[in-house]
């Protein structure tokens, strides 16, 4: 039943892959600035870690951005790249930077040896690594699916294999229900690659957070802000005359009201992507905190009532965590869906060609046709 889809739209997964690549490298710039603030936070968390080394579970340390990624074989340190007063410094890890003598650490913040603060910290951090992983996985899967569609699998026959079937179901769901539901149909193909790659990448980033050792990149405000910034730019870039007219010169209202309405509308431009990034960030963060906190109850109970009660109660907490994990898988996909949906709604709202005269006529029609109100 889906065969017609890929015949009519010339190899869309390839376009998805292409846009994923674009966004991947596009995100590099913003992602770097994201990592800059992230590292400052990370060093704060490190400082806190040394202070409170007595607590068995380090909640904030699990959430914060780090200069290393955790793996089953120990910590893998990531390169540090500093830009100080027009000069680049690169080191393979924070330790190398400090032992080289060019940089010193003071209260968790790294300065150059002459105590100049770092202008831009371009270091690669754990969250940035997982952002890249998410985008690269989305890219690879799209390229793989595109190569299969090019060979005719899924076009002349039904898609084969579980992965291919899942890809096609997700793609069609996002394209038909989410994107074409809110963006006018003739313009939807332009935005499908961007929104679908966003969906895939966010879903992967969210799901990565469920793996042990891995970090949730979307539980970092800078990452979600980068993604929301992409939506913001695309929305403004695709704004029609009607869209801007509704912001700066709302039709059909008295002049005095416009003085109030225009600032509110301009504010609305920014609150939409702001809420978008906060929603994803807070959902992923709260899920992560909740799981760590519930597991932490084992240690709190041990401290309060002794080891026996602690170990005994762990049955409850571990099973509760298991249930929460199932919920988090659902939330991870749901939040990716909601992010894509709201992006589509915002872009669709900007694309709308709307006429107020028609609106009034429509209302009159409804009144006549509605048997209850007539």
């Amino acid at each position: 039943m889906f065969r017609h889809v890929f015949v009519s739209q010339s190899l869309s997964p390839l376009k998805v892959a292409f846009v994923t690549l674009l966004v991947l490298f596009g995100s590099f710039g913003v992602g770097l600035s994201a990592s800059a603030t992230g590292v400052a936070n990370a060093s704060d968390a490190d400082a806190a870690e040394t202070e409170e080394s007595s607590s068995p579970i380090d909640v904030m340390g699990k959430i914060a951005d780090h200069d290393y990624i955790e793996s089953p074989f120990g910590k893998v340190y990531l390169p540090r790249i500093f830009w100080v007063d027009g000069q680049f410094y690169t080191y393979s890890s924070t330790k190398k930077a400090l032992t080289s003598g060019d940089f010193i650490e003071k209260e968790g913040v790294i300065y150059r040896a002459d105590e100049t603060p770092i202008t831009i910290d371009l270091s690669i951090t754990s969250h940035l690594v997982y952002v890249w992983l998410g985008f690269i996985l989305a890219l690879l899967i799209s390229l793989w699916a595109a190569s299969r569609y090019r060979r005719g699998i899924g076009r002349t026959s039904a898609p084969k294999g579980a992965l291919h079937n899942i890809y096609e179901i997700l793609y069609l769901f996002i394209r038909d229900d989410v994107i074409q539901g809110y963006i006018p149909k003739e313009k939807a193909p332009r935005y499908t690659p961007l929104l679908f790659s966003m969906f895939m990448a966010i879903a992967f980033m969210n799901l990565f957070g469920l793996l042990p050792w891995a970090a949730t990149a979307t539980a970092d405000l800078t990452v979600t802000a980068t993604l929301a910034f992409v939506t913001f730019i695309v929305t403004q870039a695709s704004g029609t005359k009607t869209y801007w007219g509704h912001i700066f010169n709302f039709p059909g209202v008295p002049l005095l009201v416009k003085f109030i309405l225009t600032p509110v509308e301009i504010l609305g431009l920014f609150t939409k992507p702001l809420a978008l990034c906060f929603r994803l960030f807070a959902n992923m963060l709260s899920g992560k905190i909740m799981i760590i906190s519930i597991l932490g109850l084992i240690f709190i109970f041990t401290e309060l009532f002794g080891a026996t009660v602690g170990i005994g109660s762990s049955v409850i907490w571990v099973s509760l965590t298991a249930v929460l994990y199932g919920l988090k898988v659902f939330v991870a996909l749901l939040q990716a869906y909601i992010f894509t949906l709201l992006s589509a709604v915002f872009i669709g709202g900007a694309l709308e060609e709307h006429h107020h005269e028609e609106h009034d006529v429509e209302h009159d029609d409804v009144k006549v046709m509605d048997p209850i109100n007539a």
């Binding site: 906060f278 929603r279 959902n283 949906l341």
Partner: protein, 75 residues
């Protein structure tokens, strides 16, 4: 710091009440509409999730403020 914790606790409770009422009303509306028009359940579900996401957004901004209060970031 102590007052910050108190404020965070009370705030989180109020957020839960507000978001609970809001999402509950959406759920009520959606279920009633689906019962009235089962054939439109797909559209209704989409609108329900969208509206719930907006409420959730406001609630989560409140939750973040509570976390900041509890961590003493606000001073």
């Amino acid at each position: 710091m102590e007052l910050g914790l108190l404020a965070a606790g009370i705030g989180a409770g109020i957020i839960a009440i507000g978001a609970g009422i809001g999402i509950g009303m959406i759920g009520k509306g959606a279920v009633e509409s689906i019962a009235r028009q089962p054939e439109a359940s797909g559209d209704i579900r989409g609108a329900m999730i969208l509206t719930a996401a907006f409420i959730e957004g406001v609630a989560l901004i409140g939750a973040i403020i509570c976390i900041l209060l509890a961590l003493g970031v606000g001073g």
